[in-house]
């Protein structure tokens, strides 16, 4: 049993229905602090809905969820300062510049001016966006947009990070740098829950939850999952538990 203070995210029987349709079905899981937890599953498996419940965007129909020790099923407001969120759909202001987007989210998270300036500098540096700072966001290529979206999610240095398909539509090189940043964050103690599209990205995760039809059908580290299913690759694990060997998309 893991001591409770090392648990960053915990759900019990978390369920969400849309009318009669069960999008997420009795999901129970634990994510440790500083862990990169990957949610894998085909389109429609319920990954986004799960993340939305954990971030307070959707109210669970049933079950409970604690994020950073706060019961988000009952008081989602309290956890908002502590989490960073990158939506599956690009959701920054396209008519603002790169720097203005960072300024806005910094302001919304209550950063004071000197802190804000420092954070902006650091993030523009980290994501190699310095010379793009004054570009209008709509004119950025996809890879840069995704970097900006992650930068905006990190502006207030949240201890928890929820990333919903953060590498969708960007090239492999950019994806690698993206994952390096995520790994560094985790090493620094940030808990990351990430959903992904790509099987090879599963390897970057410390532990994985494979979802199918709203249920978690397998949980474990990539090695554990391969061993249990006695296969060599994650694709095969996925084929076994989720019924498809293709990309999780």
């Amino acid at each position: 049993m893991t001591p409770p203070e090392t648990i960053a995210i915990e759900t019990r029987e978390l369920t969400r229905t849309f009318r009669r349709f069960i999008a997420v079905d009795s999901v129970s899981l634990q994510v440790r602090k500083g862990e990169i937890f990957g949610l894998l599953g085909a389109n429609g498996a319920g990954k986004t809905t799960t993340i939305r419940m954990l971030t307070g965007l959707l109210k669970p129909s049933r079950g409970e969820a604690w994020v950073a020790g706060i019961p988000v099923h009952s008081s989602p407001e309290k956890v908002k300062h502590r989490l960073g969120y990158m939506s599956q759909r690009f959701s920054l202001y396209e008519d603002l510049t790169v720097a203005e987007n960072l300024t806005f989210f910094g302001g919304v998270y209550g950063l004071r001016r000197p802190d804000l300036r420092r954070r902006k500098e650091a993030l523009l540096d980290l994501f190699d966006l310095k010379d793009m700072a004054d570009r209008i966001t709509s004119s950025l290529p996809t890879g840069h947009r995704q970097r900006l979206a992650l930068a905006s999610a990190l502006v207030h240095e949240p201890p928890l990070l929820f990333l919903d398909e953060p590498t969708g539509g960007i090239d492999p090189v950019a994806r690698r740098t993206f994952w390096r940043v995520i790994s560094d964050l985790a090493s620094a103690g940030v808990t990351v829950m990430v959903t992904t599209h790509y099987m090879d990205e599963a390897e970057y995760c410390h532990r994985l939850g494979i979802m199918r039809d709203g249920r978690i059908v397998a949980v474990g580290s990539p090695d554990e999952l391969r061993n249990t299913h006695q296969v060599a690759t994650m694709e095969e694990v996925f084929l076994n538990v989720a019924g498809t060997g293709e990309d999780a998309s």
Binding site: G56, R89, L92, D95, E100, T103, V108
Partner: protein
Amino acid sequence: MIGRTIAVMAKEFRHIVRDSRSLMIIFIMPVVMTFLYGYAMNFDIKDIPLGVVDQDSTPASRELTTSFLASGQFVLAGRYRDMGDAEEGFSFRETVLTLVIPRGFSRSLDGGPERPLGLLVDGSDPNTASLALGYAQGIISRVTIEGSMNALSVVRDRSGSAVGWEGLPIELHPRFWYNPEQKSSHFIVPALIAVILMMASALLTSATVVREKETGTLEQLLVSPVRPGELIVGKLLPYGVLAMADGAFILFFGAMVFGVPIRGSLLVLFGFTGLYIMAALTIGLLISTLVDQQRVAMFGAMLVTVLPAFMLSNFIFPVKSMPVFLQLISRVVPATYYIPIVRGVLLKGVGADVFWENGLFLLALTVILTVVSIARFKPRLD
């Protein structure tokens, strides 16, 4: 927290500045509308076709007819022998008003037995009819009052019947206050300004929240600690500044083009206009929080602002003569409270003391709608 509100305000200002298309619309649409409606909605009626049944055929009766034609409000469309004839004039839409001068009219001016004049008016267009009737009564009372006041100076011909009046010791000069030329534009344009301001302001805010739903940015806002109140107030104020600039522009433009005088204090006018604009902005904002599509929001904003501002605000149609439930609705239409202010300040030069109750209502409406918007704003996606 004030910091978050300021962050939202700064962002909204940037949206406004970047969105040059909306800015254009906001400043050009009012110009077009003011022109269009200002000229189209002209209620000055000239050259009303007049029918005359002169059964008296005396110089006095001819003089009365001449007074009608000299007024500039009537033109002679036909002379008829009798009422039956005159009726045909109506049927063929030759005449709108027919003056019937009975036999003995001239003698009645002279102190003979009273012979009432007849006015027949085509009531199928009540507005024109009542205007025509008003004009006619004005002319007749002028002529007959002058006539009776000057019974002694009635000019007679050799046979002793009256042929006219001259050397009037007293002249009647009716004066219209506040709008001496009786231009309907002076009456219309201030109210038109009210309607345009209402529409432009509500349109501005109607898109703000729903646009964020459509583009998905709302999701990013909802995971942030920003509270509904901070978001709503942060959105309201920048648009308030923009709408105020728009309001000043529309006011000056309308006044200039149509020569509407600005008799009262600009400070008072802007103060109340600010309240009115805020009420309009909150209407737009409330709509924006309630619907899911920008189109729906903008259509809704048009619908709930323009129609009531036109129809239920005493702009043209007196609310008093409407069914009770429409009268009740008119009580919550901001234009009902603002139109008397803008007309009063522009045309009469009256001050804040006369309108403070109206201002109070607009303020209360703004507060209520803001609170409702905040309450209706869903802090989650579902």
